[in-house]
Symmetry: C2
Subunit: 403 residues, 2 copies
C-alpha cells in the first residue's frame, strides 16, 4: 500500500545527517546513517521489551540513561542480535569510532541496527561505513538518513511540524522504518524524533513516553516484537525561547501534542507499509472492564490470522471476531456484543443485523483504510490497535527472505 | 500435504454410523453424521476453552456430565455459534428429535457442529437431516460418518487399533476433522473415539484426558482456538473381559496407550491437512524451567508468522526463533541456547555453528516432516507442539472463505 510522503523536512536546527552505502547491504543500497547534533542534546529513548534484545540495544540503553545524546548511528541489513560477546564488542567499538571522528565522548553515541538476526557484522565494513558516514554529514541530509535505515520497507517514513512555541518557531521531525516483525512494545523497529525546542532531559523523556504510548505502541503488523526496537528523541535547544522543564512549563502541551501527532503519522506509515499489507484498519475496542483488558482484546483480534485474512478478502466474517474474542479471556456477554465496520452497524445484541448490513460492511472493507469498532458493554475500558491485513504477499516475502 | 489413510475400521462392536447430505452444505456434499451405540455407553468428553463456546458445546457439556452417552449428532457447514437463544433452542430440540427417533433419552445425545460462525441453522433442514441420518444408520457406516464431519479438510481422518486386553480382542477407533482455527485447548475441532472395551465412566474420562493432553492439545495450525472444539470417547463394553474401572485395573494401561496413539495419529493428520500446509514440524522445547514454560515457549515459536513462513521457505533463519523466544518471557541465557534441525546441530552456545550446518539444516527443512529442537539450558521443563507452515495457500483459502 503506497502512500504519498510529504516532502522531507528541509532541516532541523542544530542537526546534521548522512545516509550512505557502506557495504553491509548488497548492490550499492544505502545501509548506514548518522544523526549528529552540534552539541550534546537533552534526549530520551525507549527500547524493545523482547528479552533477546540486540547488542546495540544493550549499549544504547546504557548510553541513553544519562539523558544526554549527541549522535545516533544506524546500520540496516544486519540486526547485530544473537551475536554474543563479539556483537557487543563491535557495538561498543563502533560508538568509540564515531565518537573519535566527531571528537565527542563515546557515551553520547547511541548505536542502532536493523536487519537479519544471528549474523556477525564485519568490523572492516563498519569502519568504512563510519568513515563515509561522518564525511557525508550535512544539514540537508534528513531524507538520505531516512532512506538508509530501511530494510524491506517500500518507502521512507517521515513526518514533521513547525509550531510556534512561546512566540518562537520550533520544528519537530521524525523518521522511522518498519515493514515486518512489528508489534512494538515501548518502541517500534527504529524511529527518531528531532527537535530544536529547548527541553530538559526529564521533559524529553515525558514527551517521548506519552507520544509512544499513543502511536508506536498501538500498531501491529504481525504480532512479532522485534529484538531491535528503538525510539529516540533528541532536542537540540537551538530555537529561541524559554527552557521546557516538564509538564507544567509553558509550551509543553503544544510540543507534546506535535510529537504525538508526528509519531502517530509515521506509525500509520509503518502499518501501511507492513509487509504485503493492502489495508490499514483501526481496531477499536470499547466497553472492556479496563483499558488493559481492551488492549489485550484488541491485540488478540488484530493478531488472529483468521481475522487478518478476512480483512484481506474484505469479508465481514464477524464469526472470526467472536472466535478471537472468546480466546482473549475478556469479560464478555455475547448478548451485549456490538460490532461496527466503518459507519455500518453490523452486529447488535450479539447477532448480525441483516443481510443488507453485511453487504454494506463488505463495501466499507473494500476501502484501503477504515475503522472496526467492537463494543463489549462490560465497563469503561477502551483501546485502539492499528493493524494491517495478512496477505499472500506477506507469506511470499517472508518465506523467500533468506537467512 | 496429502497423506495415505489406512482403510477405515470395518466396524466397532456395539456402534452404528451414518453420514449423509441433509442440505446444510451445497452441492450434495455430506454434512450430517450420527454415531449411535446399541445401549448407553460409558463416555467422557472434553470441550473448547474458548469463552464464546458454541450452542452445541453448551448442550453437550451438560449431557456429557452424567458419564453416559448413547448418540453423537454432528453437522458440518454451520458452527451454530454466536446464534443466541435461537441457536441454543435448536441444539436442544435437535437432541430431542434424534432421541425421539431412536427411542432414547435426549440427555444421552451429544450435539456437535462445525462450520461458519454467526449464522442460524435452519430448523427444517436439520429435521430432514436427522430423519435421513437415522434411516441410514449402519454397522459399516464409519467412513461415511468420518467424511460427513469434514469442512475444508482435504481428506478424512481416522485411526484404529485392535488389541488383546486380558485375553480378549478389543477395538479402539477414532475419527476427527481439522483444517483451520486449530490450536486446540482440551480438544480439537471435533474428534470421536469409540471402543468396545468395558470401561467405567471414570476410567473413560481418565483415558480420554490423558490421551488428549499428549495429542490434540499439542498441535497448532494457526493459533486460533475454535469455538466448537469437542472430543468424545464412548465405550460400548461389547467386548468380552472384565470391567476396567480405573488406572489400577488390568488392561487400563494398554487401552490408554492405544487411545493416546490413535489420537496422536489423527492429530498429526489434522496438522498435515492444516489449511495450505506443506510441512509438519515437531517443535520440541527442552531445558525450560518447567513443562508449563516449555509449552508457552513452544507455542510462541510455533505461532510466530515469521517462524512459520521460514518453515515454508525451508529457511534455517534461526534469528526468528531467537526473536520468538525473546517474546515468550522464557528464562533464557543466550549463551546456553542450542537449536537442532532434524539431526543437524545448527546452534550451540547461542551462535550458529557454521555455514555447512546452515546448508545441512536447509536440506532437512526441505523434507515434509521433521523435528526442530530448542534447548534453553535452564531446567527440566519440556514440551512438544506439532505445527504446520504458513503458506500463501492458507491466506488464499481464508481470504476467499465467505461469511
Amino acid at each position: 500500500m503506497k502512500i504519498e510522503s510529504a516532502p522531507a523536512p528541509a532541516q532541523v536546527r542544530g542537526f546534521r545527517f548522512s545516509g550512505i552505502h557502506g557495504g553491509i547491504k548488497k548492490k550499492g543500497r544505502r545501509d548506514f546513517a548518522l544523526i549528529v547534533a552540534d552539541r550534546p542534546c537533552a534526549g530520551a529513548a525507549v527500547f524493545t521489551r523482547n528479552r533477546c534484545a540486540a547488542a546495540p540495544v544493550v549499549v544504547a540503553r546504557e548510553h541513553a540513561s544519562s539523558g544526554r545524546i549527541q549522535a545516533i548511528m544506524i546500520n540496516s541489513g544486519n540486526a547485530n542480535c544473537a551475536t554474543g560477546e563479539q556483537g557487543l564488542k563491535l557495538a561498543r567499538w563502533s560508538c568509540e569510532e564515531v565518537a573519535g571522528r566527531l571528537g565527542i565522548a563515546p557515551s553520547l553515541v547511541l548505536p542502532c541496527s536493523t536487519g537479519v538476526i544471528g549474523v556477525q557484522l564485519d568490523h572492516r565494513v563498519m569502519a568504512k561505513a563510519i568513515s563515509l558516514g561522518v564525511d557525508a554529514l550535512s544539514r540537508r541530509g534528513f531524507a538520505a538518513a531516512a532512506r538508509a535505515i530501511l530494510t524491506s520497507d517500500a518507502f521512507p517514513k517521515w513526518a514533521s511540524r513547525t509550531l510556534r512555541l512561546n512566540d518562537h518557531e520550533v520544528t519537530v521531525a521524525a523518521m522511522a522504518k518498519g515493514a515486518g516483525m512489528i508489534e512494538p512494545h515501548m518502541a517500534t523497529m527504529l524511529s527518531f524524533v528531532l527537535t530544536d525546542a529547548k527541553l530538559s532531559p526529564d521533559a524529553a523523556r515525558s514527551v517521548l513516553e506519552s507520544a509512544v504510548a499513543t502511536s508506536l505502541n498501538r500498531i501491529s503488523v504481525d504480532g512479532d516484537t522485534s529484538t531491535n526496537d528503538t525510539c529516540v528523541l533528541m532536542a537540540s535547544g537551538e530555537s529561541a525561547g524559554a527552557m521546557i522543564d516538564g509538564p507544567a512549563s509553558e509550551g509543553y502541551e503544544t510540543l507534546a501534542r506535535a510529537v504525538a501527532e508526528i509519531l502517530d503519522e509515521v506509525s500509520r506509515m509503518i502499518v501501511r507499509d507492513g509487509e504485503g499489507a493492502t489495508k490499514m484498519v483501526d481496531l477499536v475496542v470499547v466497553g472492556a472492564l479496563d483499558d488493559g483488558e481492551a488492549d489485550r482484546v484488541a491485540r488478540r483480534i488484530a493478531n488472529s490470522p483468521l481475522v487478518r485474512t478476512a480483512l484481506t478478502g474484505a469479508d465481514p466474517n464477524w464469526g472470526r471476531i467472536v472466535m478471537a474474542l472468546g480466546n482473549s479471556e475478556a469479560s464478555l456477554e455475547m448478548a451485549a456484543l456490538e460490532v461496527d465496520v466503518g459507519e455500518v452497524a453490523l452486529v447488535r445484541a450479539g447477532t448480525v443485523i441483516s443481510e443488507e448490513a453485511v453487504a454494506a460492511a463488505r463495501r466499507v472493507m473494500k476501502r484501503d483504510a477504515y475503522a472496526m469498532t467492537v463494543r463489549l458493554g462490560a465497563g469503561p475500558g477502551r483501546a485502539t490497535i492499528v493493524t494491517s491485513d495478512l496477505t499472500e504477499a506477506y507469506v511470499r516475502l517472508n518465506s523467500a527472505y533468506t537467512s
